[in-house]
């Protein structure tokens, strides 16, 4: 986006510092509004998709009343939630209680920013993109604890404690498995990582196929990511049958909706990271090498990126409606006894691979054998 601002500003004749500042702010506000609108729209349709997928798995129809095929269900839900009474419990810590949903939502929305949606479309091309994503998604745990503590409800507190323990624990396998992928392109910039995965018909140079260790890392990451976003079988922070609704027990109306939407936002973010780091991001498979106009390429790239993300989200939904829930100690056991050691040894393996073969993946080696 900095490039965009610079380009617009250099194209303008004015050199007044105030005008330049105003234009910069204007562009920032507009782009933020676009991200917000897109992410809200996505979250709305994601709730619809979740209910349709659940309906399909559970041998029923799902929402089909509002709009064609029930597509506008999320609008009706949103309106309903807006009209609900906004209850703040008398004994709640008002300040924490009010601010927590906003932080959760802001954080999930902020994670959309460094994502690279296509070759040229991204809000901010951060050179520490991966680090930023990991850091910003950790803030959620703090906000959840704020809401849980602020509610002054024992069930909320249970949920909050569980959420923090879970999110903090699962950060470790996530980071370790991401590192196994990052060391190959040797960059934290999401766009560079995707650019690295070009070639090989747009599929075979994906980092997930780079070497056996990245393949393992992908699965470790995906399991840990499901836990990170608190979805079944790791949904213990909001385990309905155990602790009522967990950390958002006391929240009603739109405040609850913020938590709810943030969950879908987080799902998008973790799936987008998986798509970016392991599945080649916006690299168009098979026909990427054919010359085509820039606008078509961009559109195709965006389509490919979203397809990959939505497929991963679909898998998450599929898992959610199939599996029962783990117990809290079993969840920790899975993290510390299995995922973390696997991710750690996997990282060592990946490092050795890079040390010996540099960034050459399995595909490169095979390709070289054949071209020789």
């Amino acid at each position: 986006m900095t490039e965009l601002i610079n380009r617009i500003l250099t194209g303008m004749s004015t050199t007044m510092p105030l005008t330049r500042l105003l234009i910069t702010i204007l562009i920032m506000v507009v782009s933020t509004a676009i991200v917000l609108a897109v992410s809200l729209l996505y979250e709305g349709f994601a709730t619809y998709a979740e209910r349709k997928v659940a309906g399909d798995i559970q041998a029923r129809i799902g929402p089909n009343r509002v709009g064609p095929y029930g597509l506008l269900q999320f609008v009706a839900d949103g309106v309903k939630l807006l009209l609900k009474e906004d209850i703040i419990p008398f004994y709640a810590d008002r300040w924490l209680f009010i601010i927590a949903p906003y932080i959760v939502f802001t954080v999930s929305f902020a994670a959309f920013v460094p994502l690279s949606y296509s070759d040229h479309v991204s809000i901010a091309n951060l050179n520490v993109g991966v680090l930023y994503m990991i850091a910003i998604s950790s803030v959620v745990s703090m906000a959840i604890l704020m809401g849980a503590w602020g509610s002054n409800n024992k069930w909320s507190l249970f949920g909050g404690m569980r959420a923090v323990a879970q999110i903090v624990s699962y950060e470790i396998p996530i980071v370790l498995s991401l590192l196994a992928a990052i060391i190959i392109p040797a960059s934290l910039n999401l766009r560079d990582i995707i650019a690295y995965q070009s070639g090989g018909l747009g599929i075979f140079r994906w980092l997930v196929f780079n070497n056996p260790f990245t393949l393992i890392a992908f699965f470790v990451y995906f399991i840990a990511a499901i836990a990170e976003v608190n979805r079944t079988p790791f949904d213990i922070p909001e385990a309905e049958s155990e602790i009522v609704a967990g950390y958002h027990t006391e929240y009603t109306g739109m405040r609850f909706a913020f938590f709810f939407m943030a969950e879908y936002g987080d799902m998008f973010v973790v799936s987008a990271i998986a798509a970016t780091l392991f599945l080649g991001g916006w690299q168009i498979p098979f026909i990427g090498g054919i010359p085509m106009p820039v606008w078509l390429r961009e559109v195709l790239q965006i389509g490919v990126f979203f397809t990959k993300v939505f497929l991963l989200i679909y898998v998450m939904m599929w898992i959610r409606w199939t599996l029962p829930r783990l117990r809290v100690d079993q969840l920790m056991e899975l993290c510390w006894k299995y995922l973390t050691p696997i991710a750690l040894f996997n990282l060592i393996g990946a490092s050795v691979w890079v040390l010996l073969l540099h960034d050459k993946g399995v595909y490169d080696i095979i390709a070289r054998v054949f071209t020789r």
Partner: protein, 372 residues
Amino acid sequence: MTKADEKFMQVNMGPQHPSTHGVLRLLVTTDGEVLSGVKPYIGYLHRALEKIAERVTYPQFTPFTDRLDYLASMNCNLAYAMTVEKLLNIEVPRRAQILRVIMAELNRISSHLIAFGSFSSDMGAFTPFLFGIREREFINDLFEIACGARLTYNYIRIGGVSKDIPGGFIEKTREFLDYFPAKIKEYNELLSYNAIFIKRLANIAVISPDDAFDYGITGPNLRASGIKWDLRREEPYLIYNELDFDVPVGKGEMGKTGDAWDRYMMRIYEMEQSAKIVRQCLDLLAPGDYTAKVSKVLKPPAGEVYVRAENPRGELGFYLISDGSTKPYRLKIRAPSFANLSIIPKLARGVMIADLIAIIGSMDIILPEIDR
């Protein structure tokens, strides 16, 4: 509260809680996630059914028995009808007896389907619940054909059944029996042998045979502890002694005998056996009277009887004292869930909150029967 108690937190679970199966209130003392004690409080659904029995005539009390265990109304009707028949020395025609067995066993299946489904949703898997409901719907349709009602049937009356089955019932029932075994296989694939599900339940809340006797536990919960005790076999009533069926007992397939998984699995096995019984009964069904000749005004001789029957949740007993008038002098109901609930505080010591849910769900208690 003493000094030593201060490190514990007291939490009210229920009467409004998603998985207390109605209006059970548990006062839970916890140290974080680990429980140090559970105290059940009951009576939120008390309707003074035993006192009502003293105010209404014998046949008038039959609809009230529907409201004892509303998921197995037929079985409750049956036990009450048999009690009054024993007092009056009424011989029930054979066709009525066979119809009673068909209804009782179909209701056992539908009750176990709810037990299976609600237990799965307690464990965090929502899909099996809807699958259970889907098959139960079929049975509800059958009952609707037979008696017009879908939940509180009031079908098994003193002397026989309220009316003969209409045409098409037998064909529909056979259709259900052909369709049902595949569904049980589906449940087992989806839930029973799921690794997470087994991990959650194996070796949890083991009831030893001695404890089971001491607490008066009956039904599938008793058989899960490895004791082969089924009133349909031990004290055959109706035509059960002519029928060929097995009494499944817990073998500790996944852990110790009498653990939560065994108790869950008993219900799956019993559904298979009940389907087998219904099939045999359909073959035995011959034309005949559907009810004995019972006078409009029942005036049993003074005396007292105790009759018990194998309900889906255990032994339902009616202790009836008659003073020779048209109304019972005293009716004591021995509700199986009441006895089954009594062991929960013992089982729930030192387990985690999630296990408490597993314990309640695996005992399959129902509150209207406990509170009466």
